[in-house]
């Protein structure tokens, strides 16, 4: 008998190998089937459902504040009035982690329509078909995205030509400044170039012992919203070359960004001193934000900050403006970093046509978009809503609406591994501003290599 003798014969002398082998093979096949089954939760799905049939949709969103939930619920009510055959069950306060798991797992309780604040994850959602391609739906409804949505918002809601999400309101980033502090320092207008910005920041900075009674601007990368991504929009950085490889070391804009930030850190007192001052700041989302308390006189932030500062009782006049641009690029002044909420249809949804009706209403109905933008103080996400006379006329808010409309405004490109490449650059920022990384060129080359390795692993 061939084979190992121990396998060939049992204690009773009977041949046992064949049954063992069969059992083992069966167990192996079962295990593989179970494992494979566990990995295929989401299917490509198909839009076979009748949108006019009686349907109940499940919509997951991340809004949690009572005023926000009230506003989205009002929009849902308006949708249900328009589509009496569709009932929408909303689930609020859904984090992106829960969302990812639901899209991965699929199943009867998973959402049909999802919204996410993490625009950086659109690349993965699109590449993995977790969210359905919306192009056929847009075409069927006769919607030309280019004529409906601002271009930067169209860019960050697709990945490599695959449109799996649409913008549902946006966030534009600009400059907030303390008008009283400006007046005291004899500054008449907000800076338009980074040279002017540096001068203004220095003029506004008042030292007190080994700290500050007022800081012009917090440039450290751990300062609220002071990220490579946000500054990068002003410096016009591209992050990748045409082949999709990291190209930061060869990007003059990226070098200019890092150099400008480092020089400003040094000019305002140095990294250590600024970090010490930063440790006295209150929570970014609380009343003691350093801009509200007057600890910093200029703040890079989104359209929400003005409202928050007023509600927190800031006792100075607030000014808003676009963030400056590099010297010599004054013609691009007015642009800024854009982000926002994205909404899509789950690929696993068996009710994609009905789900599309909800997405279409939320993202393209001008009244719905304007009402929602006014209610939660976000920037509207359609060209028509931006021009609507019903839109909030508060001049500070309008500054951000203008930034969102600027053709030069942008978001960082999508990626299959979310925000990993941005964090790599941010890490370089921490190292460079603190002096741990001495050579910017070497640091950028190293960052590029790391980004390419991470993308190769995730791709």
């Amino acid at each position: 008998m061939p084979g190992h003798p121990r396998a060939a014969r049992s204690r009773s002398g009977r041949t046992r190998r064949a049954p063992y082998a069969r059992t083992a093979a069966l167990a192996a096949v079962t295990a593989v089937c179970l494992l494979a089954g566990a990995c295929t939760g989401s299917s490509g799905g198909g839009a076979q459902d009748d949108p006019d049939a009686e349907t109940t949709l499940t919509f997951w969103h991340g809004w949690s504040a009572p005023s926000e939930v009230e506003a989205i619920d009002a929009n849902i009510e308006a949708f249900e009035e328009k589509h009496p055959n569709i009932t929408v069950k909303t689930v609020k306060n859904v984090s992106d982690d829960k969302l990812n798991q639901a899209l991965r797992a699929g199943g009867g309780d998973s959402p049909d329509v999802v919204s996410s604040f993490a625009t950086d994850n659109v690349g993965r959602f699109c590449a993995a078909n977790a969210l359905a391609d919306l192009k056929p739906f847009l075409a069927k409804s006769g919607i030309d995205p280019a004529k409906t949505f601002p271009k930067p918002m169209l860019d960050y809601t697709q990945y490599e030509g695959k449109r799996c999400t649409l913008p549902l309101l946006g966030d534009a980033y600009g400059l907030y400044y303390n008008k009283d502090a400006f007046a005291k320092a004899g500054i008449e207008a907000p800076p338009k170039t980074f040279s002017e910005f540096d001068e203004v920041a220095k003029k506004l900075t008042k030292e007190k012992g080994d700290s500050y009674s007022q800081l012009g601007f917090m440039p450290n990368y751990h300062g609220y919203e002071s990220t490579v991504e946000h500054f990068g929009a002003q410096f016009g950085v591209d992050y990748f070359d045409a082949d999709g490889r990291a190209a930061n070391a060869s990007d003059p804009g990226m070098k200019a960004l890092f150099t400008w930030q480092r020089e400003l850190v040094d000019a305002l007192g140095g990294f250590e001193k600024l970090e010490r001052h930063r440790s006295t700041f209150g929570d970014e989302w609380g009343a003691k934000h350093p801009f509200h308390t007057g600890q910093v006189a200029m703040q890079l932030d989104g359209e929400w900050r003005g409202k928050m500062a007023k509600e927190a009782g800031a006792d100075f006049e607030i000014g808003t403006a676009p963030l400056p641009v590099p010297d010599g690029q004054e013609d691009s002044y007015g642009k800024g970093y854009l982000s926002g909420t994205v909404v899509g249809v789950a690929s696993s949804s068996p009710r994609q046509n009905a789900a599309w009706e909800l997405v279409r209403f939320l993202t393209t109905d001008t009244n719905a978009v304007v009402d929602f933008a006014n209610a939660i103080h976000n920037v509207p996400s359609t060209l028509a809503a931006m021009k609507s006379p019903r839109l909030n006329e508060d001049p500070d808010y309008r500054t951000f609406v203008k930034i969102a409309q600027h053709p030069g405004s942008r978001h960082a490109p999508g990626s299959v591994n979310g925000a990993a490449y941005l964090l790599t650059l941010q890490d370089l920022g921490y190292a460079y501003e603190s002096g741990r990384e001495k050579s910017l060129d070497a640091g950028l080359r190293k960052a590029d290599r790391q980004i390419d390795k991470d993308l190769a692993q995730a791709g």
């Binding site: 078909n129 751990h222 006295t280 989302w285 979310g418 964090l423 941010q426 790391q450 692993q457 995730a458």
Partner: protein
Amino acid sequence: MTTIHPGLKARRRRSALRTAAFLSPWLLGFSVFFAYPLLATLYFSFMKYDGFTAPVWNGLANWSYVFQDYPFFWPALRNTLWLVVVMVSLRVVFGLGVGLLVTRVRTAPGLFRTFFYLPYLAPPVAATMAFVFLLNPGTGPANTVLDLFGMPQPGWFKDADWSKPALTLLALWGIGDLMIIFMAALLDVPRDQYEAAELDGAGPFARFRYVTLPNISPILLFAVVTGVIETMQFYTQPLVAGKVASGVIGGSGQQFEPGYPDQSTLTVPQIVYNLGFQRFDTGSACVVALVLFALCMAFTAVLMRRGSGFLSAED
């Protein structure tokens, strides 16, 4: 060849079936909650898998990426090992010390026991946030007090050299779990052994060394083994401390630096999450999970081997 009586065979079969029936709940739990996840983790560690699309064979690429190219693996492993060595040791020593204190104290013992146990009941997120605020180098009361006495004021959670000691302080503050089991063990030591030792002229140290320690050595071993396993899975406190200290505590979808400051609070469970759920790289996350499992097994095996020698020597 021995001939087995058919009746005997039937009895054996019934006995085997009965045994299997009694074992089946455990076998089911073991298979579903341990064997299957472990096999699945091993399987996915060799696959390219983003959690959305079907997995594809990837050979050893995930393993090579984690060990050679993933920038957070080695810092996270170093931090976790630091915490295993320093934090577990200090927790066991401090837990035993507090246990001794609350068993010896004569005035209001219940009050002392409650006082030392209560912090353990604090939710980890709330406790960590409170510690970050207390130890805030700019505005926290801890440094204000140190300043009053003219002592140096560390950067605590904002300083890479002090963030792990700060986490250790937090762990020592929540010592209630160890205090309870040490207190129970200490109260269980036979009083007559202390009396006999005293009659033999043993002082406090000798009584502790030759009476207390041998009696509580199984509990000591238990505390060390479970402490090592818990520390290997240390996730919530370092994550919250890093996020709060870096200033990023809100804003869904907001990017944040893992392990602030300078990756000093990054632990192995955090990178499992980072890879699996933020980078969508389930394969590499499984590699790290397996490394964590192997380390836990190795630490436990070594401790049990050495601990059994320690126990038998004490016996």
